[in-house]
């Protein structure tokens, strides 16, 4: 897929709470095709301690409105600076980067998408695509507390949503992998993105139940397009770049 480096226009900034915000971007020309699981490398201006671009997942693409959404958590100087942008400002992106989620070689009847914290970002775009193709999706979303559960109304448009929080402030108390739905319902394909311990736990659940499972990794990156080899993960094929061969990997390939 062709990569672009472009200045996009911020059409809307939505502050979800203290920690999270959504940037909606648009352009005069039609946005290029993007795939669920792909990401963009964002240039952060006027943040002296932010030297490299910041990789951020494509949260959703609204082709009708020609809009690209990013869901971002403030964790440091770069994301803080991004949170201070306003509608009308422009943002420089290198995109779309990386591969995409894929379907198993059989037709899954019940698909589970498990997200933790800001890791839910790419699952919205993927869930929307799955739903548009007639698949049945269940979103299992977890967070430390209620304020870490994001965009629930958006997810509800594409399937059933169940949640967990570590402090019990919403949904079932505990980790996503503790949720009762994993015991009461049979799934045949699982996709997950979030903190590494969570993804490992989900991968273990999938492996135990012999389910097709893909995870989306968030290794630190310098370039995002295969030039530096900084972002590798160890796989059955040796060290592979998460930015070009991933970020989505089938769990059978990862040597965790």
């Amino acid at each position: 897929m062709k990569k672009f480096m472009s200045d996009l226009l911020i059409s809307e900034m939505i502050r979800l709470n203290e920690q999270y915000f959504i940037i909606k971007l648009t352009a005069e020309d039609k946005l290029p095709e993007m795939l669920p699981g792909q990401f963009a490398e964002i240039k952060v201006e006027d943040s002296p301690s932010t030297f490299l671009r910041r990789p951020i997942s494509i949260n959703f693409v609204d082709y009708e409105r020609n809009e690209l959404w990013l869901l971002i958590q403030i964790v440091g100087a770069g994301t803080l600076k991004l949170s201070q942008l306003r509608a009308g400002d422009s943002l420089n992106l290198i995109y779309p980067l990386g591969n995409t989620f894929s379907l198993p070689d059989f037709k899954p009847s019940d698909i589970l998408l498990v997200g933790g914290g800001v890791g839910i970002a790419p699952l919205l775009f993927w869930g929307a695509k799955l739903a548009s193709e007639g698949y049945t999706c269940t979103f299992l979303l977890g967070g430390r507390s209620e304020s870490n559960l994001l965009m629930l109304d958006e997810f509800k448009r594409y399937g059933t949503v169940v949640v967990t929080t570590e402090d019990g402030s919403s949904g079932e108390k505990g980790y996503v992998t503790d949720h009762s739905i994993l015991k009461t319902k049979q799934f045949d394909a699982v996709y997950t993105c979030g903190p590494t311990p969570m993804m490992k736990a989900v991968a273990a659940y999938a492996a135990k139940n012999k389910l097709f499972c893909e995870v989306s990794l968030e290794n630190t990156m310098a370039c995002g397009f295969g030039a530096c080899l900084c972002c590798v993960t160890d796989t059955t094929d040796g060290h592979l770049c998460v930015c070009t061969e991933g970020p989505v990997f089938p769990i059978t390939k990862l040597k965790w």
């Binding site: 301690s49 310098a222 370039c223 397009f225 530096c228 900084c230």
Partner: protein, 303 residues
């Protein structure tokens, strides 16, 4: 029209802008961003005799105005390069250099001999910033005798442009430069990354899997400029300067300090079109200063 051509010993580049090894992949990673054939040269990824998996993740740490890397020369080996990558580079209309690394002199020599057979590769860049396993892991490029020996042996089997890339992690870089010039290097490139480290205070752990790594980016530019200036005064062969170049002004500073050509590394990650922007900026500068040729800039520092 200004004349942008520069001579690097055995070959001429159509302009002084090159890309640095390990930051430009095999060039193909950049095709979507600009016409790679416009620039003077590209140096492809560090290549070794045999396949190398490189170091464990994490291999990168962002630092003030720069980054540390500990990639560890991950590559599929020179045979793979010759059979699978080289054919894809044949249509490029720019000078392609292969950056060669080894852990023994024999490995350097064997790798260079294989590259010598590839018609479309006019030169190699010998990376002597590698640990010499036979000498207890001491880096080839940090002592004059071992740097000289590596160059001497490679020179025997390699007839085309032999560019030797120096490590800045030395007491006197000019001495190393003179030693490699003495063994027949056609040109010298510098600097490779500066040894550094980063620590995660909260977890009390090093950021890199290897603890230490190589620093690059604007943070190293003043050191790089000083070294290019010193080396260009002490050798007669052309010098290729790099270290922290992000725009045309930086590039011109290196030319003034005595570099005949420059390489762009880390900046490619942030703006992959940096090489063409630098090229256009150099042209503008020459026009603005009513200079006819880029060679008028080389070493033109008024001290």
């Amino acid at each position: 029209m200004v004349d942008l051509r520069v001579n690097l010993g055995k070959i001429q580049l159509k302009n002084p802008v090159m890309t640095a090894s390990g930051t430009f992949g095999y060039g193909t990673e950049y095709y979507d961003f600009f016409d790679v054939s416009r620039i003077g040269g590209i140096v492809v990824k560090g290549t070794t005799l045999r396949d190398r998996q490189g170091n464990a993740y994490p291999r990168m740490a962002e630092t003030p105005s720069g980054m540390l890397n500990a990639v560890g020369l991950q590559n599929k080996g020179v045979e793979y390069f010759a059979e699978n990558i080289y054919p894809t580079l044949l249509d490029l209309n720019t000078s392609i250099f292969v950056n060669i690394s080894g852990s023994t002199v024999e490995e350097y020599v064997e790798t260079a001999a294989i590259i010598n057979e590839l018609d479309h590769i006019p030169g190699i860049e010998l990376n002597i910033s590698c640990p010499n396993v036979k000498e207890g892991g001491m880096t080839f490029g940090t002592s004059c005798p071992s740097a000289a020996q590596a160059v001497k042996e490679v020179r025997r089997v390699y007839g085309k442009e032999l560019m030797v890339k120096l490590s800045p992690n030395v007491t006197s870089i000019s001495e190393i430069a003179k030693a490699v010039e003495g063994e027949g290097a056609d040109s010298i490139s510098l600097i490779n990354t500066l040894l550094g480290m980063a620590i995660h205070a909260e977890t009390r752990k090093p950021v890199l899997s290897t603890v230490t790594g190589g620093l690059s980016g604007p943070a190293v530019k003043p050191v790089a400029l000083r070294m290019v200036w010193e080396v260009s005064k002490s050798v007669g062969i052309p010098v290729v300067g790099m270290g922290g170049i992000i725009n045309a002004t930086d590039a011109i500073e290196f030319l003034l300090a005595g570099a005949t050509a420059i390489q762009i590394g880390t900046a490619n990650f942030i703006d992959p079109t940096t090489p063409v922007k630098v090229l256009e900026g150099i042209e503008d500068y020459l026009l603005r200063h009513k200079m006819n040729s880029v060679s008028e800039l080389i070493g033109a520092l008024e001290v």
